[in-house]
């Protein structure tokens, strides 16, 4: 197999929780707690899970917007986990992030031209026909009018602002884009425009994506492979078809069963799995299998022993003592070993 473009190994982020005048540390939010996955060139890896499970933190760790507490981030074979800001700068061009909120991530006092052109200036990149021409080309590429170069963000609709956000990340021809909830603030008709744009740009510019989202339908549409997170851990990772058609982790099954289906005829007949309660706090996650407080298949062992993430079918990893839809003769091996 070819080398991955991005490899995340045992990544951890523990936010300290402090108390009192002297900011004494009284605990830690284990926002990301031992996450490993590879992303290969040209593919889209989707990351799903409910709010607070660590999706955004994972994205920010990969792009080095925050420092990990443990684990490694390897990009194109280089361990960038502890690389100094000076050394990492050229790599920043290759790895960009798109944010959920197209409003707050754009400076309201800068024109679109200045926003999209900033990366050229910051990175001191030479352009063949000047920065303005380069920016206008990118605006056209993302479906914005190049003549709107001198307009300000507030003059654009929500969908157009997300296009500006995307244009900004494309300026330096990145290889990898981490998109954190890129469409969840948008109306459904606009969501579809932006999803199509992301797909077009991927094939045109040979991009690799990590798309983080809570919407399971959007993630299925856009991804080649999908990772499901729960309380800071990956509980299942598989090809899209395998994950959606034969999920192995009870949490994945429950998530899929909870999605409302736009078909009134199916209302009555649908088999539903209903989880009790909300997601527990990551400040005090349940021991062993973190899902055991909500799982309908829970047994004694689930409360004592943490299930490792194992590869139970080709390319299909799951962390559960009692997985579903397993192939007839499982020859399980640890996921880490299976990757190499």
């Amino acid at each position: 197999m070819t080398d991955p473009l991005l490899s995340v190994q045992g990544l951890e982020k523990h936010f300290p929780v402090t108390k009192g005048l002297f900011q004494r540390q009284v605990g830690a939010v284990k926002a990301v707690d031992g996450v490993s996955f590879d992303v290969f060139k040209g593919e889209t890896l989707g990351v799903v899970g409910e709010s607070g499970c660590g999706k955004t933190t994972t994205g920010r760790l990969i792009t080095r917007l925050i420092e990990p507490s443990g684990g490694k981030v390897v990009f194109e074979g280089h361990d960038i986990t502890h690389m100094s800001q000076g050394k990492i700068r050229p790599l920043r061009r290759d790895m960009q992030m798109i944010f959920q909120d197209p409003y707050s991530s754009l400076n309201p006092r800068h024109t679109v031209g200045a926003i999209v052109g900033a990366p050229f200036r910051i990175q001191g990149v030479k352009t063949e026909h000047g920065v303005k021409k380069a920016v206008q080309d990118i605006l056209a590429l993302v479906g914005l009018n190049p003549e709107h170069y001198n307009r300000y963000p507030h003059e654009f609709s929500g969908g157009q602002r997300q296009r500006i956000g995307i244009a900004r990340t494309l300026a330096l021809k990145p290889k990898l884009i981490i998109a954190d909830e890129p469409v969840s603030a948008l109306d459904v008709s606009i969501q579809a425009q932006v999803v199509n744009l992301l797909e077009d740009l991927q094939s045109e510019l040979d991009l690799t994506y990590v798309v983080i989202a809570h919407d399971l339908s959007v993630v299925r549409h856009i991804s080649d492979r999908v990772a499901v997170m729960y309380l800071g851990k990956i509980v299942e990772l598989a090809d899209r078809k395998d994950l959606y058609e034969s999920p192995m982790h009870p949490y994945t099954t429950a998530l899929l069963s909870a999605v409302p289906i736009p078909d009134p005829k199916r209302r009555a007949g649908r088999e539903r799995i209903r989880l009790q309660g909300d997601v527990p706090s990551p400040l005090n996650p349940p021991p062993a299998c973190r899902f055991h407080t909500r799982c309908w298949k829970v047994q004694e062992i689930c409360k004592i022993e943490e299930p490792p993430l194992l590869q139970l079918a080709p390319g299909h990893q799951v962390a559960c003592h009692f997985p579903e839809n397993t192939p007839a003769a499982p020859d399980a091996m640890p996921a880490a070993a299976a990757q190499t």
Partner: protein, 343 residues
């Protein structure tokens, strides 16, 4: 007079502003019976929330210009006094909001808020009202209601807070419940719990329920009838089956094409609507949807001059479009439906 439990006739809610007149709701009519659920869907800014606040009389006394009729159980509310409608709120009709924190007082316990709401309409001892509050919290699925009744809103998780607000809304047995994006802020597993709860409660209370959302999946789960709004007007109105199985409006087709679906094989591409929803200060002339409509050219130049009527196509299914009925049906069958299913 009217024989319907809720009958909204030609409702208009306009706001005069410095920038011009905002036509938030512009001639909306619908009916609803007890025990039934109406879903109102549309993109942001289409007038959904203004409609719900209007029914509850919450625009009264403000700068809104309101006309038309709202008949609730034989009483007309647009012409009724603000004080009278205020009394009906809580007693006969109640609202469930997207953000429970904005609907609850942060410094009072959840129990005290339910008790107070209950005692406005029922002259009972505090103890009796408290018992009622505990019962309600239990009914909406809050564990240990006799303890949680003394908690403050911020001590609840998101899903539990939503349940507490539903308990508050139910405190006086309302017969009309309006839920405006009740699950939009919730995670999908919690959303499923709340939708189940609302379905159960509506049956138990035999209430008329209006569920307002931008999510077609959510209305398909709950609604008997669906009204699709665009630019302050209904553009399609029918049973859930009408809207999902034989939709006839190009905007409804666009919404369906924009939506990736888990219940079907994935399609290669989504089929979005071009452009973005209109501002309600500058609603496009003629058919408000015409700047975004791919079929605009097929309506003989009428699309941008004449507002189409909301007309019956068959069996109470209403559509606001200049295209002749037969042509719409042919387009749906031949050009739209096949593309919504994967190749």
């Amino acid at each position: 007079m009217t024989e319907h439990f809720l009958d909204v006739k030609n409702l208009q809610i306009h706001f005069p502003t410095d920038d011009g007149l905002v036509r938030s709701v512009d001639g909306l009519s619908f009916q609803l019976e007890r025990g039934k659920t109406l879903g109102i869907v549309g993109e942001s800014g289409s007038g959904k929330s203004v409609t719900s606040l209007g029914i509850l009389g919450l625009h009264k006394g403000g700068r809104a210009k309101i006309s038309g009729e709202i008949w609730l159980d034989g009483e007309e509310l647009v012409s009724a006094g603000a004080e009278h409608v205020r009394k009906l709120r809580g007693k006969k009709m109640a609202m469930i909001f997207q953000d429970p924190l904005s609907a609850m007082h942060p410094y009072y316990t959840v129990g005290d808020q339910i008790i107070e709401a209950y005692r406005i309409h029922h002259k009972v001892a505090k103890k009796v009202a408290r018992k009622h509050a505990v019962d309600l919290l239990g009914r909406v699925g809050i564990p240990q209601p006799d303890k949680r009744v003394d908690s403050y809103p911020h001590e609840f998780s998101g899903g539990m807070r939503q349940r507490a607000m539903i308990a508050m809304a139910l405190s006086c047995d309302p017969t009309l419940l309006i839920a405006d994006e009740p699950t939009t802020a919730l995670d999908v597993t919690v959303q499923a719990q709340i939708l189940d709860l609302m379905r159960d409660l509506q049956r138990d209370f035999d209430a008329a329920l209006i569920i307002i959302t931008h999510d077609l999946g959510v209305v398909a789960e709950l609604a008997d009838d669906i009204l699709v709004m665009y630019g302050g007007k209904a553009i399609e109105y029918g049973t859930a089956e009408d809207i999902f199985e034989r939709p006839e409006h190009p905007y409804t087709w666009g919404l369906l094409g924009s939506m990736p679906r888990l219940d079907r094989e994935p399609t290669e591409r989504l089929l979005p609507i071009k452009g973005s929803p209109p501002s309600l200060i500058n609603v496009p002339a003629g058919c408000a949807f015409h700047p975004r409509c791919v079929f605009e050219g097929r309506t003989g130049g009428k699309a941008n001059t004449e507002v189409p009527e909301l007309a019956e196509t068959e069996g109470g299914h209403l559509v606001r479009c200049h295209l002749p009925r037969e042509e719409r049906r042919a387009i749906w069958a031949n050009e739209i439906k096949p593309n919504l299913e994967s190749a």
